[in-house]
Subunit: 109 residues, 3 copies
């Protein structure tokens, strides 16, 4: 038995929860703020048998991996064009920080 | 030293906190959502000496164990009697998912 | 690799986050309530290499250690002077409860 603790961005949170649930993982979400990643994080607590740890890690990687995203330029409001960038910007989104912890006992009551 | 992480239903949360505190366990509650159990969960973090782990587990089991509960029938509103069940329903409530984790160091500052 | 879980008082939370970040620790904050300390707690999750565990503990101790604080007397409102204490009161604030947990795998995606 292992406990996987995964901190992911809020925007990937629902997709990750759906994917883990579809593969019958037991998941709890904790609200978290700031930290490992840009603000707006969710911490997942996943309890799983040793043999399925790699599958859970694969699902987290698939759904949360850090990647580049194009952001459309926003038109300046009120004529302040000093900082206006007239072409799409590439920003980094997503990412996950994952700990696999040993479990001495696991119970369901 | 062990760290017990217990995910329980919100409705059992106050009773569990009271019982653990009465038995001098050190407890922290984390807000959690969805997951192992039906939505509305609380995650308890309990730090305890090895010798008292079983006592903590007993208290969690006593206060949170999954059980059947009778729910009184709700009268239909607006005359829609199609799905009306005129006798009490038995539903499952409670339940706890519990991890006991090894602790390498414990400090109080 | 270790996972440090630290429960500290809200009033020390921002200072601790700043100090840990300045020393390049990866930190996630979880909202927590009641428990080990007086109500209003924050739980920090800190992932770190074994060699830097002591440094993290030093930073937590420096920023959160339990200490005495003088509280100025509050003038009674509405003439009820029965419980009025006309000199500063010394109360205990701060404090931290810290677990260091072993980590079997650590990943960043
Ligand atoms: Ni699949
Ligand atoms: Ni008792
Ligand atoms: Ni320093």
């Amino acid at each position: 038995m292992k406990l996987i603790m995964a901190v992911v961005q809020d925007q990937d949170s629902n997709r990750l929860l759906k994917a883990l649930t579809e593969h019958n993982f037991r998941v709890t979400k904790l609200a978290s703020t700031g930290g490992f990643l840009k603000s707006g994080n969710t911490t997942f607590i996943i309890g799983t048998e040793d043999i399925r740890v790699q599958k859970a890690l694969d699902i987290i990687k698939t759904n949360c991996q850090s990647r580049q995203q194009l952001v459309a330029p926003v038109s300046p409001i009120g004529g302040n064009t000093d900082s206006y960038v007239p072409y799409p910007l590439e920003i980094e989104v997503g990412g996950a920080t994952v700990f696999v912890l040993p479990v001495e006992q696991f119970h369901q009551f």
